[in-house]
Subunit: 159 residues, 2 copies
């Protein structure tokens, strides 16, 4: 449960960087990341489907495969999963649509994604880089940090 004991003296000033966090806190960090990894691909799919519906009027499996640079078989399998999760509705060989729950997830994900992207641009990151970084970072940003990012971006825009 606890770490093996450090055998160094108890009070000597550390020559190293930050100390290790307490075990429970450290474990929480990793657990939160593992958790995010379970949902992030789902979020990206739902967000993309929402964007395609908004900007193109329809969301076809082939478009998703191209946009994600993934095989159509992979998309087809994922769509089955999204169906089981009741996030999308689909008739065979037809465009996809989002359920109520799917729309909610798409909006939330899109909003969060935009906050992160706009924040990175406000920081001075080039657009192409900001887009790449935001695609990964978005799933690992807490609400607290998100708020701070949003305020930062607004401040930046006023000046």
């Amino acid at each position: 449960m606890t770490d093996s004991k450090p055998n160094a003296s108890l009070t000597a000033p550390s020559i190293h960087g930050d100390a290790l966090p307490p075990v429970e806190q450290h474990a929480q960090q990793y657990a939160t990341v593992r958790n995010a990894h379970e949902t992030e691909l789902i979020e990206d799919y739902v967000e993309l489907i929402g964007d395609l519906l908004t900007h193109r009027g329809e969301a076809r499996a082939a478009d998703i495969a191209n946009r994600m640079a993934v095989s159509q078989a992979t998309v087809s399998k994922m769509i089955r999963r999204l169906n089981e999760l009741e996030l999308v509705t689909s008739k065979p060989y037809r465009s996809l649509f989002l359920t109520e729950a799917g729309q909610k997830m798409a909006e939330t994900s899109r909003a969060r994604h935009d906050i992160v992207l706009h924040f990175l641009r406000a920081l001075g990151v080039k657009d192409a880089t900001a887009r790449i970084d935001a695609e990964g970072m978005e799933h690992h940003v807490s609400d607290e940090t998100l708020d701070i990012m949003q305020r930062f971006t607004e401040q930046q825009q006023k000046s």
Copy 2:
């Protein structure tokens, strides 16, 4: 290869948010994230082993399991992989050590992790939240963004 055609008028002002990026750029975003996911767990292990060696003098499988909140079997299996990748050396039932390549990876990961963590704190994020966010974000931050974060943190500290 290309999206299905939008049938909306060509020049009408969009009532929606940001337009979709070009397919190739969009695909690059997702591909970069998938790539990061292949290496991030490895990086976390190597970084943690380095930290344990630095702060505790040894890195035992049980400590890793506790710190990551994961079973010992999972750690044991991952250590075999790290061995195959020649990032760690291990004798059965003995502490782990990092190879040259492992030390290099540990340093790089630790440095990047610290930049992200210190940046979040400089932004005003509470320590516990910053630690959680940094654990996930670190793997999705480009060198360009990392530079900007570091400069931001330094600026913040001067004032």
